[in-house]
Each structure stands twice: as structure tokens, then as C-alpha cells.
């Protein structure tokens, strides 16, 4: 489950926004939530829920419409060999293809992280917490 630690000292009132009944939000589906002018993309990936800021910082394409796939990585862990990894957990922007880790919001290859939101499930109802 995606979570953003409340900033210490933050006294902002937290608001729970109902997204859908669990039964209406099965694995493999996604919802686009607008709260005022803010868009949030919420995904059910094999039973785990993730909520991220819904507009790509590049040119604002809607991330809720991005595909989930893998990507290529090459680092010390792979002994600098190129490997296909993270299958199903890389959100690809439908604008021009920037890639984000669905779990953390971190953009692959950029020093940039999308805001993520906590998702809670209570009594069969899915909420995001803002």
C-alpha cells in the first residue's frame, strides 16, 4: 500500500475521499479522481492500491491513462548489464513516455518524485487520504 508519512508537526486536517467500493475497483483497474483542480490517479495492482498525483510534470498528460509495464535498468546491482525489470510496476505517461515507479512515484532517470497519497480500505470502501 502506498503511504506518505505525515510531515512532522503538520496539523493539517486530513480528509478521506471515498473512491469506490472495493467490489467496484478490482485488480487491474484504475480510477481518476479529481479533488477541486487536483487530479489523482488511483491503481489497483493485484490487490495493492496506489495513488499518485495525476498530471505528468512534463506536459500535464493524465497519468491515470498510462500503461503499466516494466522497464530497462542498468546499475551496480545488475553488474552494469541492461535488464528488463519491474514488470507491471512502471507507470508510463501516455504523453511522451516518462516512467514512474507505481510504488513510490519516483521517476526513472529523473531526480523527481510524484506526490503519492495514502490509500485505506475500510468496510469494503476504498479511500484516499489527503
Amino acid at each position: 500500500m502506498s503511504s506518505e508519512k505525515p510531515r512532522s508537526g503538520s496539523r493539517r486536517p486530513r480528509r478521506k475521499i471515498p473512491v469506490a467500493r472495493l467490489s467496484d475497483f478490482p485488480a487491474g483497474t484504475r480510477m481518476e479522481v479529481s479533488v477541486g483542480s487536483v487530479q489523482i490517479a488511483v491503481f489497483n495492482v493485484e490487490g495493492d492500491f496506489f495513488a499518485l498525483f495525476g498530471r505528468c510534470p512534463h506536459q500535464s498528460a493524465p497519468l491515470s491513462r498510462g500503461r503499466l509495464q516494466g522497464t530497462v535498468i542498468c546499475n551496480a546491482d545488475t553488474c552494469w548489464e541492461t535488464e528488463w525489470a519491474h514488470e507491471g510496476e512502471v507507470l508510463v505517461c501516455p504523453g511522451h513516455g516518462m516512467e514512474y515507479d507505481i510504488r513510490s512515484g519516483k521517476a526513472f532517470g529523473y531526480d523527481l518524485r510524484l506526490r503519492t497519497y495514502e490509500v485505506s480500505v475500510e468496510d469494503g470502501q476504498v479511500f484516499i487520504v489527503m
Binding site: 480528509r15 480510477m31 481518476e32 479533488v35 506536459q59 505517461c93 513516455g97 489527503m130
Partner: protein, 391 residues
């Protein structure tokens, strides 16, 4: 922070198989309404199959063969892809989702939103004909394309056409201009010169400039990746990744086109000719202008026809914003434009529907005065293409 009073909507959505295309206009619809919007670089990608009917003899036969090629699973997909992209096919792992081939219906649907006043249609599959080794084949393709476009896209509100000529056959290119320049929907001639030898300023090509000047038809150079040829304007065959070729191919092509035309004295010889440069971004403009000025000081005697500094010719060139660079600060674009003196020459371009297209948010995120924004979004293009405002 979420205020209790903010309206919440939730909708289930599906992943997009094609890149999102037109939602960007909806997003800015209100802000843009009332402004003149000209998109100066728009493509339709299904022209090859229709061109068949405009070809004769052995070239028609050859075209049939081209159309049978099943490339990327799409019969008749672009010649451009076939000859240019094959080396790197798959290198982006189908990310972003591949571009949908835009048709006339797609274009009209985009226009029907009522946000864009004019779309200027540039060739897509024919952009690399400059490096086709057979001049007659290149010229036959250009002739078929132009006649098809004029027949299929005439009298559509807000749709205008740039014809294309094969620079390898300058006399025939001039005839092509003579044939179509008077058509009310033809607003520019595109010279796809990447790959030609000698470079485009050479005297060999002057009949093309002469014809355009005679008809007061502005000339557009549209960048391409210049992927596979190994002569003018840039040897890019040595790079191993499409990213390197793509990012340098467009601006270097454009800089060399400008340098070649200006240093050949073409703006002096044909003073009423207008030029535009498309699909190469903007940041290199100050570089080529002032770099040439510095060299001009030393080498002026090589260019005795010039009557002023190179930058004073180049600042009259119009330039399309696509592929707009992502500058770090919101005020940077206006500063850049000041640097190349481009307030009256910079024109918004999306490159719709190609993968690299710019969503309008990419331009709107930059801060600038309203007058400059209006000029870039439409007023400059109206002047360049000789169009009248529709709003």
C-alpha cells in the same frame, strides 16, 4: 490540503493504447478561447495509400510494392518509418505507446473542438525524400502527394497545406510550385533537403527559390532526424542510440539549412522570400546567429553578396516552437526569444499527431506578457502564411 468544500469526481478510466492527443486542448480551452490559434506543424499519416491513385507507370507499380510492406504491423505505414526508423525499431520498448496514424477524420475532429483556427499540414511520410537516391522517384512522390493533398484537403475550414518538392530536381520542383501556388489553400512550400548534396543554398537549387519568390509563397524547412544518410547535413550514422540522433539531428539540420541559405546570399537575391524552420526547438537560434556574426567579421570577403550581418537576416526567419525544450525556469522562454529577437517570428507548433508532439501545456507553462503569447499562438503565423484571422 483538501478542503471539505472542494468538488470530488471519480471515474474509472482505461490505459490509453495511443498517446493522449487532444485532451490538452480541452484542458486549456477556456484560456485559449477568443485567441487566434494557429498550429503551424500538423501531419496526417495515411497519405501514401491515397497517393497511389495519383501515380502512373512504373512508379505506380513501385508504390504498390511499398504499400504491401507490412511495417510495425500496419500495412502501408510510412515510408519515413521504413527508411528512417528501422535501425532503432523497438529501442524504446514501445514506450510511449506508438502513435496512431492520423487520418483526415482525426484532423477534422481536432479542428471541430473550435480551439484551433488554422492547422498547417506538412508532409509526414515524404519528409525524407531529399535523401532518396533516385531523383525521379523523389519527384514522382512529391507530385502525387501535392495533387492528392490539394484534392482531398481543399475547402476545409481552417485547414491549409504546405506542398512538398524534391530538391534533387529543381526545374521540376519549380513547375510544382507554379502549378499549386495559386491555390487558395496552399500556403507554403516545404523543401525536404536533408540528405541532398550539395547543400540547399547551392546555385543548383535557385530555380526553387526563384519560383517561390515569383509566387510570394513562403518556404518552410521541416527538420527530420536525418537518420541514415551519411552526407549533408550531418553524419549521424555513427551514433548508437535514437536519442542522440534525434536530439542533434533536428537542430543541426536546421542550423545548416539556415547557414547554407543565408551564406549563399539567397535572402539578398530574393528579398521578398519568407522562410520558416520547423521541428527543431528554439535554443540553438542565438547560437547560429551570433556564431555566424563572429565568423563574418573574419570571413566577410567570402560572402560579398551579404549587405548586413548574418544574424540580421536570420532574425527575419520564422520558427516553430516544436520540439520545445524544457527550460528550467518559467521565465526562460521569453528571455530566449528576446535573445534571438524572435517576438514577431516565433510560432506555436505541436507536430500533432506524432509521438514527439508538444502538448499545449508545454508552452503555456512558460510565463510571458500577453502580447507575446498572442503573437506566438497565432498572430505571427497569420502573417507568415498570409492568413486572415477567423475570430
Amino acid at each position: 490540503m483538501a478542503n471539505e468544500g472542494q468538488p470530488v469526481t471519480v471515474q474509472r478510466v482505461e490505459p490509453s493504447l495511443n498517446p493522449v492527443q487532444d485532451e490538452d486542448l480541452d484542458q486549456y480551452g477556456e484560456e485559449l478561447s477568443g485567441l487566434t490559434i494557429v498550429d503551424v506543424d500538423v501531419h496526417v499519416d495515411d497519405t501514401l495509400m491515397f497517393m497511389l491513385d495519383y501515380m502512373e507507370g512504373h512508379f505506380r507499380k513501385r508504390m504498390e510494392t511499398v504499400l504491401q510492406a507490412d511495417f510495425k504491423g500496419e500495412p502501408g505505414n510510412s515510408l519515413r518509418n521504413m527508411i528512417a526508423h528501422i535501425a532503432w525499431l523497438g529501442s524504446s520498448y514501445d514506450k510511449p505507446p506508438r502513435a496512431k496514424l492520423a487520418t483526415k477524420e482525426d484532423l477534422l475532429a481536432r479542428m471541430e473542438k473550435g480551439i484551433i483556427d488554422y492547422s498547417i499540414l506538412f508532409p509526414s511520410e515524404l519528409l525524407p525524400i531529399g535523401y532518396l537516391p533516385e531523383p525521379e522517384w523523389a519527384a514522382a512522390l512529391a507530385t502525387a502527394y501535392n495533387q492528392y493533398m490539394v484534392d482531398a484537403y481543399k475547402n476545409l475550414e481552417g485547414v491549409k497545406i504546405a506542398i512538398v518538392v524534391a530538391p534533387q530536381q529543381p526545374a521540376r520542383a519549380a513547375l510544382e510550385i507554379d502549378r499549386h501556388a495559386g491555390h487558395p489553400d496552399v500556403v507554403s512550400v516545404c523543401i525536404p533537403d536533408a540528405g541532398v548534396n550539395p547543400p540547399i543554398g547551392d546555385e543548383k537549387y535557385w530555380p526553387i527559390f526563384e519560383a517561390a519568390a515569383r509566387h510570394d509563397l513562403p518556404i518552410s524547412f521541416h527538420g527530420i532526424e536525418a537518420l541514415i544518410h551519411d552526407n549533408y547535413p550531418l553524419r549521424v550514422a555513427h551514433f548508437h542510440t535514437l536519442m542522440q540522433v534525434n536530439s542533434m539531428g533536428f537542430p543541426f539540420t536546421s542550423m545548416l539549412q539556415i547557414m547554407s541559405v543565408v551564406c549563399a546570399g539567397i535572402p539578398v537575391r530574393f528579398p521578398n522570400l519568407k522562410f520558416a524552420i520547423l521541428e527543431a526547438g528554439l535554443t540553438w537560434m542565438p547560437f547560429i546567429m551570433y556564431r555566424l556574426d563572429a565568423a563574418y567579421l573574419r570571413y566577410r570577403t567570402e560572402l560579398p553578396a551579404l549587405e548586413k550581418k548574418p544574424s540580421e537576416y536570420i532574425r527575419d526567419w520564422y520558427i516553430g516552437t516544436h520540439e520545445l525544450e524544457a527550460l528550467p525556469r518559467r521565465g526562460d522562454l521569453a528571455k530566449l526569444i528576446d535573445l534571438y529577437q524572435g517576438r514577431d517570428t516565433t510560432m506555436w507548433a505541436s507536430d500533432w499527431p506524432h509521438l514527439e508532439r508538444d502538448l499545449i501545456a508545454g508552452f503555456m507553462r512558460y510565463e510571458m506578457d500577453d502580447a507575446l503569447r498572442r503573437k506566438i499562438l497565432g498572430e505571427n503565423a497569420l502573417r507568415f502564411f498570409g492568413l486572415t484571422a477567423r475570430k
